[in-house]
Symmetry: C2
Subunit: 152 residues, 2 copies
């Protein structure tokens, strides 16, 4: 199963997903499933109750499922008008390198583009900026720098 074939070709044509895979644009997905897929890539464990609240307060949430198994996930926060920020882009390790990262990001941006938002931002982990450049993201344009303040 080569999922990269689902990705839009240069000529704009697209193949359908295999029927067992489902793309979901909903906030009320299982927080336990999100916790588990994040743990599968080694991210720090978050409480399902908090995950549920974060999903509800997100602007857009995209998940891709193989049956009942969550295999890719991404979400964004934002004000619906001027900006959105992408968070938690993750593909289950056993499903990586099949185009699911491209697919889940494409679906998320498609949903964000239903709003009039002119600016979508994200924070790219080391080595992932090439991936995001494929969607038109660029690093530090005009010298703008991402900054972080961690509290706990």
């Amino acid at each position: 199963m080569v999922l990269s074939s689902i990705w839009k070709r240069p000529d704009g044509s697209r193949e359908p997903l295999p029927p067992n895979l489902v793309i979901v644009h909903r906030k009320d997905i299982s927080p336990e499933a999100v916790q588990e897929i994040c743990a599968s890539v080694g991210w720090s464990k978050r409480e399902p109750e908090l995950i549920g609240k974060a999903l509800q307060n997100s602007l857009a949430v995209v998940s891709i499922w193989d049956g009942e198994l969550l295999i890719a996930f991404a979400r964004a926060t934002g004000d619906k008008v001027f900006n959105a920020t992408v968070w938690d882009v993750v593909v289950r390790p056993s499903y990586q390198r099949r185009g699911l990262g491209l697919l889940v990001m494409n679906e998320l941006l498609k949903e964000l583009d239903t709003y009039p938002i002119p600016l979508v931002t994200l924070y790219a982990d080391p080595g992932t900026d090439g991936f995001y450049k494929r969607f038109g993201f660029s690093c530090d344009p005009s010298g703008v720098r991402g900054m972080f303040r961690e509290r706990f």
Copy 2:
């Protein structure tokens, strides 16, 4: 009037604001006033109707007023749980260098810290990172890069 004296001293003590200045933590402030203060520093003009929606969809909005004149502003988006992003930190030019930037950021972070959010992020314009470092922000920790995608 030296407003920097309102800033918390190293010993934690603080002086009150002059009585004509008022700090407001509310989303339902005048969109026209926000449009005007943003224009005062040369930012591109946004429609008041869109500004009003963005304020409502923000996680926190802080404004400082001298009577009916908006003199400082900042807001943040976020999911109330895992992250927040600071946007639109602005001080009216004729009121700059009096500590209002520190004050408005401090008020915004104070409001954000009423949530259990562990990570606050922002995108710093060139030359402003020193300002944000005073609040514990750092640039590109662990090689994480801010990225941007502009649509229009």
